[in-house]
Symmetry: C2
Subunit: 246 residues, 2 copies
């Protein structure tokens, strides 16, 4: 979240335009970036109580100086106004909602059955809204299935960023990269009858963008048949430096 | 540590030539890289008991799959043969020795007095030796002072990599980057009467290389007077891709 778009790295010797971070999951790929932010940069970190609990259990996140970094809990299905650590308004609000997913890998409880101790709030989607312009979009980088309530929520949306981790559920195994299916990792696949392209085909979403794409997913290659299939189905594939104006 | 120099990234889809990592301190800049290594890459992590304890307290490091990543304790002043996770010999041994320093920032105990609860083993230097060729060098990326026993240990060494964090003790404050002195952060400075250049001037070390250089240290710039002064004093400044043959 860039709370003040007018800020620029040139505004200070170590200035960062990042005033806030909204974390959707406590997995390494979602939280380790926090440790690369400047230690003395004012920041607000928004997450569910479940995710904050894992951050608190890991003392390494105390490098985020408590005097400068506010940790704010967002409650499921309640819009929260995003503010900088100093209370400066961003003009954005965020509503987190539970999506099918998984507790962070490092917190899996192997004795807790097939869901490894996952609870609501471990993985969320976000609806981000601009108070001024009234525009809104969804950001869902990890999602295991698309149940009817999620489809209903996204129906007719102007813009949705969605989990593009895998093309096929057995991709990691087939390519020899791992032993886990997408389902085991908490990611639905892009292709197939139960895949994302099929699930989103009739939701009337104006712009659909895949994010969080694993390097095993052939869709990430510009010239692959899989990329062509995604584009033909109305999807874009996110890339570094991508800018979208709503 | 590259245990098998003949290995190459092309050896496998996600192969990494890194067979082992020796951690000299539990601070973020020394340990967060572990979280960027492939989750399913066999690896041996060597550290003192003090550093391993902090890694164990932070469950996020459990993304290093215990089936594939061996955590091995090295004892101060006892040479340890470096082996891959599968027991493959590297031909290298490492001896860790306590150097003046500080406990990791996120584990500081503000109630423990001026050293914040620092104990021997929180910061170490390493002597790395090749069993075959009998060559050896020292790697000391963080060091707060150079007491006589450290000088004696390094005297006449063929190669020493040493903490080049700061040029001046008050550099972070003077440049407006922070509020801490080098001494507070556990780093002796390069310049000055108690600085590294002075401390190493008469130790007869054949090659001296500064590493761990903060971006506030003007020595990092090729064309700075500080760089010229370091080079004139017989030091090299490490850079990405640097290779040294002993």
């Amino acid at each position: 979240v860039t709370a003040s778009p007018s800020l620029h790295p040139s505004d200070g010797v170590r200035h960062s335009p990042i005033s806030g971070v909204v974390v959707t999951n406590a997995d390494v790929d979602h939280v380790v970036g926090l440790l690369s932010l400047r230690e003395s940069q004012p920041l607000a970190v928004y997450a569910t109580g479940r995710v904050h609990a894992l951050l608190r259990q890991n003392s390494i996140f105390n490098v985020l100086n408590p005097d400068l970094v506010a940790r704010r809990e967002i409650r499921l299905d309640e819009p929260a106004a995003l503010c900088g650590q100093d209370g400066s308004q961003s003009g954005l609000s965020v509503t987190a909602y539970a999506v099918p997913g998984k507790i962070a890998l490092y917190a899996e409880d192997s004795g807790a059955g097939s869901n490894f101790g996952t609870r609501p709030g471990d993985t969320v989607g976000l609806e981000i809204a601009s108070a001024r312009e009234g525009r809104r979009f969804h950001y869902i980088p990890g999602c295991a299935t698309a149940p009817p309530e999620l489809a209903a929520r996204l129906k007719g949306a102007e813009l949705v960023f969605f989990d593009g981790t895998l093309w096929r559920d057995d991709e990691m195994i087939a390519t020899g990269l791992g032993v886990k299916t997408g389902a085991r990792m908490g990611h639905m696949s892009v292709s197939g009858e139960a895949g994302t392209i099929a699930a989103f085909a009739h939701l009337g979403i104006k712009r659909k963008v895949f994010v969080h794409i694993n390097n095993s997913n052939p869709m990430i290659l510009d010239d692959s048949p899989e990329r062509a299939a995604a584009v033909a189905a109305g999807w874009a594939v996110a890339h570094d430096g991508m800018e979208i104006v709503l």
